[in-house]
C-alpha cells in the first residue's frame, strides 16, 4: 500500500477530528439524552431477556450512534468536497480506486468506533453492564461501521446536493437504524414486524453486538455475523464498481 492511502486516511481522520465537538461530542450527548429519557420512563416496567431495560438499551445506543456517524463521515466528506470542488485534490494524485475506497471506509469506521466508545463512556454509569464476549462487540462495531462507511460513500458519490444526501440519510439510514431493535427486542413485536425486521441488516449488527455484552440475543451471533459479512461484501462490491467506473467523480 502506498502512502497515498495512508495520507488520505490521515486527512479523513483529521477532518472529523478537527471538528470533534460536532462529530463525536454531539452524538454522544444525543445518546445520553435518549438513555436518560427512555430508562427513566421504562426502567421499572420493562425487562428484556432478563436484562434491566437501561442495561439493554446502552449497547443499542452505542452501536446505533456508531453506525449513524460512520455513514455521516464518508457521505459528508464526499459531498462537501464535491460541492466545493476540492475533490480534485484527491483525484489528481496517483491514488487507486481501491486505496480511495479503503481510506474513506476505514476513516468512517474509526469515527464510528470513537463515537461508540464515547457513548459507552458516558452511559456505562447508568446501568450494570457485563462484557461476556468482547470479541463479538469489537467485530460487530467494526463491521457495522465499515458497512455504513461504504453506504455513506455510495450516497456521497451519488448525491449532487446536500438535500439529496439528507434524503438518503433521513429516509433510509435513520429508519434502518431506529427500527432494528435498538430500543426493543424484536421478539416483543407482532409476527409481521418480526419478519420485516429480519430483512434489515442493521438488526443483525445490533443483535450480534448486544450478544457480546449479555451472551443472549434474538438470533445466534454466528448467523448475524454471516449476514453482516455478506452485507459488507455486497456494499463494497457496489462501491468499488462505482469508483472503478468513475461514476460522478471522473466524467
Amino acid at each position: 500500500m502506498t502512502s497515498g492511502f495512508v495520507t488520505l486516511l490521515y486527512k479523513e481522520v483529521l477532518r472529523f477530528w478537527k471538528v470533534s465537538f460536532q462529530t463525536v461530542g454531539a452524538p454522544v450527548l444525543t445518546a445520553l439524552l435518549y438513555l436518560m429519557i427512555f430508562s427513566h420512563v421504562l426502567e421499572s416496567h420493562v425487562q428484556v431477556n432478563g436484562v434491566p431495560y437501561g442495561a439493554f438499551l446502552i449497547p443499542g445506543l452505542v452501536i446505533m450512534s456508531a453506525l449513524q456517524n460512520a455513514f455521516a463521515n464518508s457521505s459528508s466528506s464526499l459531498i462537501q468536497s464535491k460541492v466545493t470542488g476540492s475533490v480534485v485534490f484527491v483525484l489528481l494524485p496517483p491514488i487507486s480506486y481501491v486505496e480511495f475506497f479503503l481510506a474513506y471506509v476505514v476513516a468512517a469506521m474509526l469515527r464510528g468506533v470513537m463515537v461508540g466508545v464515547g457513548v459507552l463512556a458516558v452511559t456505562i454509569w447508568f446501568a450494570p453492564l457485563t462484557f461476556v464476549a468482547p470479541h463479538w462487540i469489537l467485530l460487530f462495531i467494526a463491521l457495522g461501521g465499515a458497512i455504513m462507511g461504504t453506504l455513506g460513500m455510495i450516497a456521497g458519490i451519488w448525491a449532487d446536493k446536500f438535500d439529496q444526501l439528507a434524503g438518503f440519510q433521513n429516509f433510509l439510514i435513520m429508519p434502518l437504524t431506529m427500527l432494528s431493535g435498538v430500543f426493543y427486542s424484536i421478539h416483543s413485536l407482532p409476527e409481521f414486524w418480526q419478519v420485516v425486521s429480519r430483512f434489515n441488516p442493521v438488526f443483525y449488527m445490533i443483535d450480534g453486538f448486544r450478544f457480546g455484552f449479555f451472551g443472549a440475543s434474538d438470533v445466534a451471533p454466528e448467523f448475524s455475523l454471516a449476514v453482516v459479512t455478506a452485507s459488507f461484501v455486497l456494499a463494497s462490491a457496489a462501491t468499488l464498481a462505482l469508483l472503478r467506473s468513475g461514476y460522478k467523480l471522473r466524467s
Binding site: S3, L8, Y10, G85, V88, F89, P94
Partner: protein, 308 residues
Amino acid sequence: MSVAVSISRVEKCFGALRALAGVSLQVAEGEFFGLLGPNGAGKTTLISCLAGLTRPDSGTLSVMGHDVRSDYRSARRQLGVVPQELVFDPFFSVRETLRIQSGYFGIRNNDDWIDEILANLDLTAKADVNMRRLSGGMKRRVLVAQALVHKPPVLVLDEPTAGVDVELRQGLWQFVRRLNQDGHTVILTTHYLEEAEALCGRIAMLKQGQVVALDTTRNLLARYSGQTLNLRLAGGAASLPDALRARATESDGTCAFHLAGLDELEPLLSALREGHCVIDDLRLTQADLEDVFLGVMQNSGSAHEAAR
C-alpha cells in the same frame, strides 16, 4: 527534443455536445505552450483528460511517455495541474494542505521544498493560516503551490490569472517563467491574449473541440502580420465602393482593412478617393495575437487546413 505531452485523436462527448472532436498535438520538453480558445472550445476538457479527471471516448494521451489511463500512477506523478476554479479544503492551514498533497504523491518530509515554494509565492507569512481566511489571490497561489509539491516536470495552468490583480499576475508569471527556464514544461490556458503572446513559445487555438491553429507564436503573428487600417467614414460602410466593401471587416461603424505591408496602403487610399469616400477618422494598428485569434476564429473554413 523529447516529447513531454502527447495528445492523439482525442474525442469526448457530453451527451449531444461534442467537447473534443479529435484533438492531436504534442508539446516538447521545456516548452512554454499556450492553449487558447473561446469559452466552451474544449480547453478545460482537454486538460481534464490529460489529468485523468475526464475519460476520453477515444484517443490517447501521455505525459512524459506514460499513458494517462494504463500507466496513470507514473503519468500523474509527472503532472502538476492548477485548476481553474478557486477550490480549497476549509479544514486545513496552508502548510497542512501542502503536506497532505505531498503525501498523496507518496512524498514525506517535504518541508524543505514546501518552504521554498511558499517563499517563491510570497506565502511564508500565511503558512499556518487556515485556507478559509485567505484572500482569493492567496488561495490562487496556494493552488499553484499544491500543483508543485511533487516537483512535476510538466505544469498545467488552467486560466490561473482570471480575476487576479495585476501585481499578483506579474509575480505569478515571473515565477512560472523561472520554472520554465529551470526546465519545466508549462502548458497555459488563458483568456488574456497579451499574456500568451508574452509567455508562450508555441500556441494551439481550439474552437468547438478542434485545433484550428497550431504554430509558434512568432509564425502565428507573422501570418497575420502587417497592419490594420481602421477607418470611420462620413457615409458609413455603405459608402464604400463594392470592391473595397468585400475586403473590409465592419464593427461599430468602423471598417477595418488588413494590410500585409505598408505598400498596400497607397492603393487602398486612392481607391477610397476614387470612390469619393470622406474619412472622419483613421488609425493604423500593428497586428497582435488578438487579431490572429479573431482571424482564426472567424475563418473556420481554413480550420482543417491549419490543423494539418
